[in-house]
Symmetry: C2
Subunit: 329 residues, 2 copies
Amino acid sequence: MLLQQTDIHQLMRSDMERVSARVAEAARVRYAGVSPFLEEIVQAGGKRLRPLLLLLAARAYQYDENVDTLITAAAGVELLHTASLVHDDTVDRAAIRRGKPTLNSVFDHGSVILIGDYLFAQSAMLAAATGSPRVVSIFASTLGAICDGQLMEMIEATDLDQTDQQYFDRIYGKTASLFAGAAEMGTVISGAPEDHIQALLSFGGDVGLAFQIVDDVLDLTGESSDLGKPAGNDLRQGTITLPVIYYLASNPPGAAGSQMIASIVAGTASDVEITAALDDIRSSGCVEKAFGEVERIVQRAKDRLRILPDITAREGLCEFAEMAIHRAS
Amino acid sequence: MLLQQTDIHQLMRSDMERVSARVAEAARVRYAGVSPFLEEIVQAGGKRLRPLLLLLAARAYQYDENVDTLITAAAGVELLHTASLVHDDTVDRAAIRRGKPTLNSVFDHGSVILIGDYLFAQSAMLAAATGSPRVVSIFASTLGAICDGQLMEMIEATDLDQTDQQYFDRIYGKTASLFAGAAEMGTVISGAPEDHIQALLSFGGDVGLAFQIVDDVLDLTGESSDLGKPAGNDLRQGTITLPVIYYLASNPPGAAGSQMIASIVAGTASDVEITAALDDIRSSGCVEKAFGEVERIVQRAKDRLRILPDITAREGLCEFAEMAIHRAS
């Protein structure tokens, strides 16, 4: 079915409210000590980009006929994301996310592991509740890709001689795979033709890559007060992101800039040295180069939408891509 | 199809080897630093009771026609169990399991969380690969039950005034639910009638309960060298199990025995006091009472099998029940 432009925002709002209600219901636990924290983490929820993408991708096909299943899958995708954040914060030992204390800073790490596992279980139950073997299979392989990306980050992210391809593989797993999976689930459930499914899956993956690059750049350039965490946090934790890879490429081993990055990653640099290094990276043109890459990827994402005949759906997805990369800037 | 007694062991052996091969394949990672440890934890593997139960439960129905799917599901069940052990050891901060160092004692806890998540993902992929929405749904709700049981253990296990019903609820979630789920998956895949599915699900749950009670009693009565961990480990960690619940019931609050348990749970008892308390529990008749409960549950489990017309299958499952409770004694 085709939708009028004026209906879209209203439709998305009411269905996204249903998604939020499903998420809240699935994350409810009967343990008084845990449930307020779980409610808070689920409600903090950011912009719920992934379930929104799932619904938007489905919109040009049999949407209304499948809306209950779409909402179930969208809630599953959001909870999978939340579960993965809970564990990721524990792995990173992050104390703050979105300006609020993480579960990690309130509970001992054993509890946080169990709470994350519990949310994984709930998201798996939502995926199973769609009754679609293909949706379940996308869910499971996306979870695999996320874990693989996180393992890759743990093992390779501190390498000074990593290539930008390693970086892209890592953020595809860690972040973009769930955007791709959300778009794939939405189109599969709404009965899109296979070539449309593939186009939207790739669109989702591209938007996810662009989103993560922007996030990584903002980590370097942003103010601590806006980020809700210290600026340069990734680098302080030894994680090398795209602008730093560009910076290292123009500061070969032995050069002062490169030696400074090595000492930050090794944890031996002082705060003054870190601040100076961040300034040098920011003024080196590497940030602009990374933003250039974001623009190129977003353009590629939009080009993939040409296969969709429904102009309204295309416009909605283009808006989504812009929103994803501008959400925090 | 009906199988002759003489065929059974050979059939199980060769199919269980296929299960082990699937498990090993699914747990393979391309990260040199992680893969030997993952291989070891997967190969240590104990008796693989859960996949064996899945296959045994399926045996009286369309087994051969569905053997590939059964093996896939059995491998998924075993990996789910392994993933859950990895996280559980981290929660418990256990350094030793089956006499070997846990991942937890080799890697930092962030890595162990990710490795556990990775194994969860692989088990979910195997469940999805069965292509059966009902199997996936059993998988997801079993994962939910396990997490719930572990949360319950974390929150309630140290309560001195807990009832034996709380204990049974907790071990059902933590342990028995996966035995029940394995039996349910096996019978669903092999096309058993619904009343047989329910009987075998309940049989699996009972065997799982009995198995966990035996495990908890052995933790109190066993020698450290046999257990591969210190005797009385649960109590030292503040976890109250069935024999201790019985002991507390005959030592009301204020009595010396009860005060001693309280101080062990609070972590203020000396090693000498703990040893004396363990001796007192062992000679109090509470261990015998717990074993009586095991016998009662195993008998109930066997009675549930009366619905099955296939005597060979019934005998195989009765053998399984005996093996499960005698495996470590």
